[in-house]
C-alpha cells in the first residue's frame, strides 16, 4: 500500500451484483428495499415539527412522515447514515477521498455548484411526487416488478436524456 493514488473503480457488473445482494438482504431481513429520498422527507418533517409542531401536524404529508416512527429510529434515516459512512470508508480505503468540486472543463465552480443545488431541488420535488427516487423506486420497486416504479424509471431516464442533450456542453 505504498502508492496513495486513487485506485480505479471496480467492475460495474460485479458491483451491480453486490448491490443486488444488498437489496435482496434488505427485502429478506427488513421486509423492505433501499431508499434515500425518504430519509430527506423524514428529516424535513422532523425539522418542521421542531420549529412548528402545529404546521407539521396540519400538513398531511409531514404528519405521515412523523407518524412513521421516532426520528432517530426511522429505518431510512439510519440506513442513509450507513450509506454516508460506508461510502466514506470505501473511498478512504481506495484513496478516493478528495475535496474537489467535480465539473466539466467549460464550467466554473460557481456554475457547477448552482446547477447541483438547483438540480437537487428539482429532484427533491420529483422524488416527493413519485414517492421515491432512484433507490426507493427504480431499484427497490423495479426488482419487485412494481408498475409505478417502472413508470418512474421510464419518465426519469427519458427526461434525463433530453436535459443532458440540451446541456451537453456543460460536461464536455
Amino acid at each position: 500500500m505504498s502508492d496513495r493514488a486513487p485506485r480505479p473503480y471496480s467492475d460495474p457488473y460485479l458491483t451491480g451484483v453486490a448491490l443486488g445482494l444488498v437489496l435482496l438482504a434488505a427485502y429478506v431481513f427488513a421486509g423492505r428495499g433501499l431508499g434515500a429520498s425518504g430519509a430527506f422527507a423524514t428529516v424535513a418533517a422532523g425539522a418542521v415539527n421542531a420549529t412548528s409542531p402545529g404546521a407539521a401536524r396540519a400538513n398531511f404529508w409531514f404528519a405521515d412522515h412523523l407518524d412513521a416512527g421516532s426520528f432517530w429510529r426511522d429505518w431510512l434515516v439510519v440506513e442513509l447514515a450507513g450509506v454516508v459512512i460506508g461510502a466514506w470508508i470505501s473511498a478512504k480505503l481506495a484513496h478516493r477521498v478528495q475535496l474537489v468540486v467535480e465539473r466539466g472543463a467549460g464550467t466554473t465552480v460557481r456554475g457547477r455548484v448552482a446547477a447541483a443545488a438547483s438540480g437537487g431541488a428539482v429532484m427533491g420535488v420529483g422524488a416527493v411526487l413519485a414517492r421515491g427516487c432512484t433507490s426507493g423506486q427504480a431499484l427497490t420497486g423495479g426488482a419487485l416488478l412494481s408498475v409505478g416504479s417502472w413508470t418512474f424509471i421510464a419518465g426519469a431516464f427519458g427526461a434525463a436524456y433530453v436535459v443532458a442533450f440540451v446541456r451537453r456542453g456543460a460536461w464536455s
Partner: protein, 179 residues
C-alpha cells in the same frame, strides 16, 4: 442496527462502482460511459432473481415484503421532474450522499438543494393532494398488467438487460468515445 449495516453496504457498493462521481453519471446520459445502466440493471436482475427463487423454494415470504404502491400519473410526472433534476445535478439522492461523503463539494450542494426541494414542496403538497393521490392502483405489479406469469416477466427483463449490456459495451467501444 440492520438498517445501518445495510446502509453501510449500500454506500460502499455505490462508491466502489464510481456512482459517487457526477462525471461518471453524466457519461450515462451522454452515452460515453454506461456504468449507471450496468450497475443498476445488474442489481435489479440479481435482486429480482433472488426474490423469485427464494420465494419459489419457500425460503422467504413475499407477502412480508413491502411493494411500493403505484400511482401512475404522479409517478410519471414525478419521474420526469426527477429525471430533469438528475441530469442538471449530475447526481441522484443516494449518490449525492456518496459524493458528499467522499469529499465532493458538488455532492454536498445536491444534498442541500435536495433537502430544500423536499422541504419546500412538502408545504405545497396539500394544495395538490388530489393529483398526488390520483390514478392509484395499489401494489400493482407487471405480471398482473401484462397477464403473464411472474417467471415470464422475470425472463423478459433479464434478457432485455443482457441485450442492453451488449449494446452498452458496443456504445463504449465506438470510435471517438473517450474511455
Amino acid at each position: 442496527m440492520m438498517a445501518f449495516i445495510i446502509g453501510l453496504a449500500f454506500g460502499a457498493c455505490l462508491e466502489r462502482s464510481g456512482l459517487g462521481s457526477a462525471k461518471k453519471l453524466m457519461g450515462q446520459f451522454n452515452l460515453t460511459d454506461l456504468a449507471v445502466f450496468k450497475v443498476m440493471f445488474s442489481a435489479i436482475i440479481t435482486a429480482m432473481l433472488g426474490m423469485f427463487w427464494l420465494s419459489r423454494f419457500g425460503l422467504v415470504d413475499v407477502t412480508r415484503v413491502y411493494v411500493p404502491e403505484t400511482f401512475i400519473l404522479p409517478q410519471l410526472v414525478g419521474g420526469v421532474v426527477f429525471g430533469a433534476g438528475f441530469a442538471l445535478a449530475g447526481l441522484c439522492p443516494g449518490t449525492s450522499c456518496v459524493a458528499a461523503a467522499s469529499g465532493r463539494g458538488d455532492g454536498l450542494a445536491v444534498v442541500l438543494g435536495m433537502f430544500a426541494g423536499v422541504l419546500g414542496f412538502g408545504f405545497v403538497l396539500p394544495s395538490i393532494e388530489t393529483f398526488y393521490s390520483s390514478t392509484s392502483r395499489g401494489a400493482l405489479t407487471l405480471p398482473t398488467v401484462l397477464g403473464m406469469s411472474q417467471g415470464g416477466v422475470v425472463l423478459l427483463i433479464v434478457f432485455a438487460a443482457l441485450v442492453g449490456f451488449v449494446v452498452a459495451e458496443w456504445l463504449e467501444q465506438r470510435p471517438g468515445t473517450p474511455t
